[in-house]
Subunit: 195 residues, 2 copies
């Protein structure tokens, strides 16, 4: 295989890139070698050499403990459980949360053969038993697998003396009733608030 | 900027990748460091170090003259003029053509300020005057700019003793009349063939 074909093949392994878009990306890179290709190679090498998984929460980090876990200004009494790092980033972008995280590494799924021991559940229970922790927020996706995992985690966390909460369901901000699925609408009505 | 943020920024410069898909790609890379990230870095470095522009046709090449230009089995009497390298690759994938190429580097466009001197037109006329060349196929996109460029090139090539042809317009294979634009349908009827 020629170097070009190999690069196209490697690039098309990335999610969201098929062989056509990988070809376009390669041509674009080569047209802008100095401004696109070389900085990209540098950035990838730097990340490959320096980024590791935080030993506490499972976030990506430049050191053994990530910036969030080592930030003294963050609320150490709350742990937000997310499915993967992308969800952690989404929470951080929203600015809605100032506590710590716990990346579960997936959700339970009989279909995909994901068992409790495949997820960081044991580590979560250990952290929940720490004296500092008062609340665990289960911020999992509102899918069947997410709901099953929330159910399982709630049971696992019962012995620990922590409040276990989950995200509210309801109307998305900017959402229109007419386009909303029935399940969400029912949840929004049930959780309606006065005033 | 952190190494991760920088990588996401560099990746999202590629066509077809926004910041969301760049984030997903980075997470995927880091999850599969050995099978996705490291091979991709290697492939990019190899291409960056070894790939250059063919001095004859403008194709990408591992040497000064590309594999097509140096392939003795190809028909040296025909030159196919394409807008860019992606079009050359599309022609090669189709297997419809066994001659040489000439990458123009774009099409004339008053709107984008692309003038004849910005394209490899002088080089094309030089090649057309070579004793070997019998036919120039203008395989440009069927756009307004493509048509204007074909018109201009035809005039430039008039003094050279070569046949100047262009791609046929018509019904795409597998295409349905009902979904076809009028221009294509008119072209297909005009160019109808007996038998």
């Amino acid at each position: 295989m020629s170097p070009l074909e190999n690069l196209i093949k490697q690039l098309s392994k990335l999610p969201g890139l098929g062989s056509r878009s990988a070809r376009r990306a390669v041509l674009h890179m080569l047209k802008k070698k100095d401004t696109v290709m070389m900085p990209l190679i540098d950035a990838m090498s730097t990340v490959a050499d320096n980024i590791q998984i935080c030993s506490l929460c499972g976030n990506l980090s430049e050191s053994q403990v990530c910036g969030i876990c080592s930030d003294e200004r963050r609320d150490r009494s709350t742990i937000c459980v997310v499915e993967d790092i992308a969800d952690l980033w989404a929470m951080e972008r929203s600015g809605a949360y100032r506590g710590l995280y716990h990346v579960l590494g997936g959700t339970l799924s009989a279909l995909d053969g994901v068992q409790p021991e495949d997820l960081k559940i044991e580590e979560l229970v250990l952290r929940a038993n720490s004296i500092d922790v008062k609340e665990i927020i289960l911020a999992l996706n509102a899918t069947v697998e997410g709901a099953a995992t929330i159910h399982y985690l709630t049971e696992c966390l019962e012995p620990a003396s922590v409040v276990v909460s989950k995200l509210a369901h309801g109307l998305p901000v900017g959402g229109e009733l007419d386009y909303l699925d029935d399940g969400t609408l029912i949840a929004a009505v049930k959780a309606r608030r006065v005033g």
